[in-house]
Amino acid sequence: MNTVQTPSPQAEAAAERFALRVTARLSSGTDELPYDITERLRASRMQALAKRKKAVAPARLAAPAVVHAGGGSAALGRGGHDGNSEGGSWWNALVSAVPLLALMAGLVMINIAQDESSVHDVAEVDAALLTDDLPPAAYADPGFVQFLKTSAQAPSR
């Protein structure tokens, strides 16, 4: 542990000089490594650098994917901030806005069609009531309801 004898400054300086001489020898010897080893080290380096490229590339691709998932408003907001890839971000905004617009148009059309059909149904009922022999006021009469019930049961007996 740290309880080892602490060397004097002179001894420490001498030790440091010795260490530096030793490592200088090591460095000069290491510079003359055999050709096959330096080549393999170079190949390893190249491989590592190639891996780095691959590691960076998916990160760039992932960003637009997130924008698509986030929807049109996120993409449009990003278009304004990102000055570097303005063309790309506008294109992304446009592309991600298309499904949103289609959805909106679909919802509006469904709403119009449903309104129309419900109005149509009500109109049909009204027309049937008005053109019937029975006056509409008869439906408010409690006696008429009783009559309908008894007349509906009578034929089944």
């Binding site: 490592t23 490594l33 080290l41």
Partner: protein, 189 residues
């Protein structure tokens, strides 16, 4: 964020020393090349986007971890494929037993005497290498990081995951052992 050129330059500056350090550690050139390759890949894959100033520290840490991983794999492999040798006798004394045995040691005087200086220099280099390889792993790691990689005490401590006091102690002991061993061989670095 480090550019590709910065990362490339950094790896180029560090690869030879990393290889040598791994060789001293695992005593096998093929394994050392694999370790360096693994560590470079990990650095580029996971930390390729870090600032260039952070790369040396990160790389030292990754290299140490890759070396440890190699030892762990060796241990598992030895346990799986050479368990029969356990019955042969009390020869098991730690995970680097085989590695120590496999190391052939310095090959003094093997080169032709093309130039006296060159041979002398090569011999000194080999002797130093051999002595460094003989150092205990933590001392060697501290010594090489501190003086060869030129990291300061705090950086070395952070990379080794120990206190600054421990780094100083490891370095001091390593220097002491080296100077004694080299003096015994009559070598003045």
């Amino acid at each position: 964020m480090a550019t590709e050129q910065e990362l490339s330059d950094f790896l180029k500056s560090v690869e030879k020393r990393a290889f040598k350090r791994s060789v001293y550690h695992v005593r096998n050139e093929e394994a050392a090349l694999d370790i360096v390759q693994d560590s470079m890949l990990k650095l580029a894959e996971h930390y390729g986007d870090k600032p260039a100033a952070e790369l040396p520290m990160l790389y030292q840490r990754i290299l140490s971890n890759c070396t440890l991983d190699w030892f762990r794999r060796q241990k598992t492999r030895n346990a799986l494929f050479s368990s029969m040798s356990d019955f042969e006798g009390p020869g098991e004394d730690g995970m680097d037993f085989d590695l120590l045995e496999a190391y052939s040691g310095p090959e003094d005087g093997e080169r032709a005497e093309s130039a006296e200086d060159l041979t002398r220099r090569a011999q000194i280099f080999r002797s130093i290498e051999a002595e460094i390889a003989e150092l205990p792993p933590r001392q060697r790691e501290a010594f090489l990081m501190r003086y060869w990689e030129e990291m300061d005490v705090a950086e070395t401590a952070a990379a080794m995951g120990c206190s600054e006091g421990s780094v100083k102690t490891h370095c001091f002991r390593a220097i002491h052992t080296l100077s004694k061993a080299l003096k015994a061989k009559g070598i003045e670095p």
